[in-house]
Symmetry: C2
Subunit: 352 residues, 2 copies
């Protein structure tokens, strides 16, 4: 008898039943390799003895495949799990993984720079989806080199990417907003500077490059429309926010809304819906009417912005589809190559 204090193995089971380990393995994995009767016998005895099937740890080493895909997130998991856009991306990824018997391992890159390194278990995954890191991040080099990798919202040398048309989308929403002939336009950026800035951006602040961040592309789109309209980029005040959460957005936006009425922008172009929604709430609290006194545009098209009144005018990006595409490529279901998703303009009441 097998000692009961130890977990039962395939070998134990084979010995107990007087068959080879191959037959037990085949009973679980390749039904065509043995007779129906023997298979049923093995499976029912396995159940009786409390053997739940071959151990994933050994199978993974032997076959070289874990059925696990890792998602590397630039932000902390806390942020990513609570942000509507990352949640949608993960939703699209898991939808495809689920349908193909794979599971999702969450890896966060968002820690103190000093201790940033991939957990040892990262080399467990069969493939990697990397979301929104900075190009050249040293973590990318730590990933196993011979496994499929797909980048989302940024570019890794030689690897396929899924991204959206940030510049044209920002151009389009700005052109729409300018129809109403605003007097004073302001822009609220998301992590645009090379240093940490929560507040007004000045000439002293250096910007990240277009290659480094999608928010720079959004800014370029805003500027193109503003200049086409006859405004100079140097006359547009810019604010920056480092983290796309209410608590960090609020103080910066309060600073803007509390400007004297004749200095306060009457159109705020916001680089995310979270920023725009925070501005909307704070404006309402101050009796600033939206859109009469203040027009607002967002970016992302998250549900929260569409399920309330006034609805947000924003750019809708299909993050679920981004996730699906990335997952299909990493699983080898689609040929790996760069994909560019189209966005569309949602006209709500915050900027009709």
């Amino acid at each position: 008898m097998t000692p009961s204090n130890r977990r039962i193995t395939l070998k134990d089971l084979a010995r107990e039943l007087g068959v080879s380990t191959a037959s037990v393995s085949n009973a679980f994995n390749r039904p065509d390799q043995l007779s129906r009767e023997l298979r049923q016998h093995i499976l029912s005895e396995a159940r009786r003895m409390g053997y739940h099937g071959p151990d994933a740890r050994a199978r993974t080493l032997r076959t070289g495949r874990s059925q696990i895909i890792a998602v590397v997130l630039a932000e902390t998991l806390t942020y990513s799990l609570n942000d509507a856009v990352s949640s949608e991306l993960l939703t699209g990824i898991t939808e495809v993984l689920d349908a193909h018997g794979h599971t999702l391992l969450l890896l966060s890159a968002g820690r103190q720079p000093a201790v940033r390194q991939m957990p040892a278990s990262s080399s467990m995954a069969d493939g990697f989806i990397v979301y929104g890191l900075m190009p050249g991040d040293s973590l990318i080099g730590e990933l196993p080199s011979h496994r499929p990798l797909v980048a989302v919202d940024f570019h890794i040398n030689g690897q396929p990417t899924v991204h959206i048309d940030n510049e044209p989308a920002s151009f389009a929403i700005t052109r729409h907003a300018l129809h109403q002939a605003p007097k004073r336009v302001g822009i609220i950026c998301l992590r645009l500077a090379t240093t940490t800035v929560n507040g007004r951006l000045t000439a002293e602040h250096e910007w990240l490059s277009v290659q480094s961040t999608i928010t720079r592309s959004r800014l370029d789109g805003y500027f193109r429309a503003l200049e086409e309209y006859g405004l100079s980029r140097d006359d547009i005040p810019l604010w920056n926010i480092e983290e796309n959460i209410h608590a960090v957005c609020a103080p910066v936006i309060e600073e803007i809304l509390d400007l004297p009425a004749e200095q306060r922008p009457d159109l705020l172009l916001c680089m995310s819906d979270r920023i725009a929604l925070t501005a909307l709430t704070l404006a309402e609290q101050r009796g600033i009417r939206v859109p009469e006194d203040l027009r607002l545009t967002g970016f992302d098209g998250i549900e929260e912005g569409q399920y309330r009144a006034p609805r947000l005018t924003t750019v809708r990006q299909d993050s679920i589809e981004k996730g699906r595409m990335a997952a299909r490529m990493v699983l080898g279901l689609d040929t790996p190559h760069d994909r560019l998703l189209q966005t569309n303009l949602l006209i709500g009441e915050t900027c009709p």
Copy 2:
């Protein structure tokens, strides 16, 4: 030379450097087992040759530990990733796992009953946190039996649980709401019936048992306060909602709000903030004033309900702390035993 088309292994590296495999392994894992010089030499040569460290697949088989903890979610991942309460739970879990070098594997139980089974990779995990399944779910039996397991919001025979005081919390919020002497009380339940019901619950519908679902405990708390106040539970209309998302809540709530004014409840006790927020939005759209014409209470205390006006009156549960506790127990940092978390009442403007 090692063939360049194959991934380099620890053995290759040892051969190349003329040292034993033990020394290479020790260089990565046990610095005290070899001289500083040899270790540095091995690590720098490893980097030069593109060896990123011992493969997690083999290490896991050898040591029996993967550094992976699996979270088994009752709902689909799509739901769980987008729901504020599950996101908070996951946030608390990942916070602890992160701090201890572990990573999170997401497993969803929420599929068609016919095809429900654990993915093969589930036996990869060192431990399991199971969230909100029904007791007796067959999936629980498929998990490896000798690894730590913690249940959240329900009970698995013989395993530690983290849960909250659903009945007293519901009692307390109802007693608060009754101070205002409402004329007609209604209750909107979450998945209370044994069958699928989106709409009014009648005498024909059977309820789940107190052991099976936390929503039954919430109902019991509501009833206790209502009866103490002098109302009979048979006079209180009950509605049920199957899924805690806006799209499913809305039609049921519309049915309630569109009742003739003299039949419409002026107090709605909702079993989740999502339900209460949907009711709030739909009431506003109809010009029903909250709290003058309709008072609303929620459950959960999610941020979305506190960052808007009027703020929700609700029961705040600390789901992040629930996640932390579950993770600490599954990692063996805390002695496994049942934990009961206290909630607190948040008085907002929807039911002052």
